[in-house]
Subunit: 208 residues, 2 copies
DNA sequence: ATTTACTGAGTAACCGCTCAGTCAGGGTAT
DNA sequence: ATACCCTGACTGAGCGGTTACTCAGTAAAT
């Protein structure tokens, strides 16, 4: 079920160096992909912004798509890290859900360019790597599934087993739309207003 | 406010012929863009699938991006057409909203590849044309804004002016996510199940 | 004879990726 | 201490291939 991420081969021996150089690559590539898109960014640009030559770039990756994969994986990794900081125990499951939602919205807002990047460029990944990235996206909704299930079990949330999965996806999408509909939403609402209205929508369904 | 769509210049004189050929171009290009993506589709492929040579293709457009623009515009046009069929008067505003939502879901489902195409390739459009396409997307949510406002005014829907805009966007996004999250949703739910859960989510917020 | 639509080989530019070669650091034989 | 070689990271000109777009020419209709 749970597929391990494909390790990208490298010509370089020193694992620490690989990690350091790949961090450079990711840092340079995210910025370029955000501002120009994956297809319009050249490998030459990536290597230059990383601070070394194309030759060296290809010592650490095998193809341009590998860079996109590294970038997507890094974004998800950071996202999950922030989520784990935000999802903490609270007095009641309802309070926990509330704070998880508003925390999630803040994370989305902080990382909006990166969230958007994944939405827009995921399709350019080779099939296997795309599957892995989508799985990571599923893991993120998993955090909300867990809270919902707990609320169902302790009786504080009004939801049936069949709807949990969809409701968790709804929470994630209602968060992420803050980025991919920002051309409309961010003109009309502050993040706080947005969070409040969306939270009320979700909770009104869950609290009878 | 309302920006007219930029007319794409053509070398050909006969306006009827322009229309006919552009329909051919759109029909061929949609299929190619859906299966290969915009960037991986070549202009040669588009012209061949359209049934004429590259030279001729460039008599009807000025750049490859123009084709993407034609395609996006056509999809929105067809979407709006279907929406107008679906949004009809009903006994009450609540009934009207109900049937509009379920009708919208059916349209999304029918056009899912095309809806997804717009989501994924819109960013490849030149700025001006992108603005126009986003405006069209706003027009679609406008249909739901109208219903919501009417419900607010006749007292049948519980919503305030400030939330109407966001609620309309929510309806559209909760519909469109059926396509861009289909890797998760369409494995677990039928369109009918999906529609029912999402409708209940929206209506529970609106009906006190 | 002129206009109009159409053709497709050609062009200039670009891009992902490679590979022959450089160089610094360190081990080793003398 | 010196000379020599080896290893591993790095370099960037260049290769092979592709692509968006053009234009000189054809054919048919008026």
């Amino acid at each position: 079920m749970n597929q391990k991420r494909k390790a990208i081969p490298s010509m370089v021996k020193d694992p620490m160096l690989i990690q350091r150089r790949r961090e450079q690559i990711i840092e340079a590539a995210v910025e370029l992909f955000i501002s120009k898109g994956f297809h319009k960014t050249t490998t030459r640009e990536i290597s230059q912004s990383s601070g070394f030559s194309i030759g060296t770039l290809y010592e650490y990756i095998e193809s341009k798509e590998d860079v996109l994969y590294l970038v997507c994986d890094d974004i998800h990794r950071k996202m999950e890290e922030r989520l784990r900081e935000i999802i903490v125990e609270e007095a009641t499951t309802v309070h926990m859900l509330r704070s998880a939602i508003s925390g999630f919205m803040r994370v989305i807002d902080e990382m909006q360019d990166r969230v958007l990047l994944i939405y827009q460029e995921i399709k350019s990944l080779p099939k296997e790597q795309m599957t892995y990235v989508l799985q990571k996206e599923q893991e993120i909704t998993g955090y909300f599934e867990e809270i919902l299930r707990r609320g169902m079990e302790d009786g504080s949330l009004h939801i049936d087993e069949k709807s949990i999965f969809l409701m968790a996806h709804n929470i994630v999408v209602l968060g992420e739309m803050w980025t991919f509909r920002r051309w409309a939403l961010q003109k009309k609402y502050t993040l706080e207003q947005y969070t409040e209205i969306q939270t009320s929508l979700i909770l009104r369904e869950l609290i009878p």
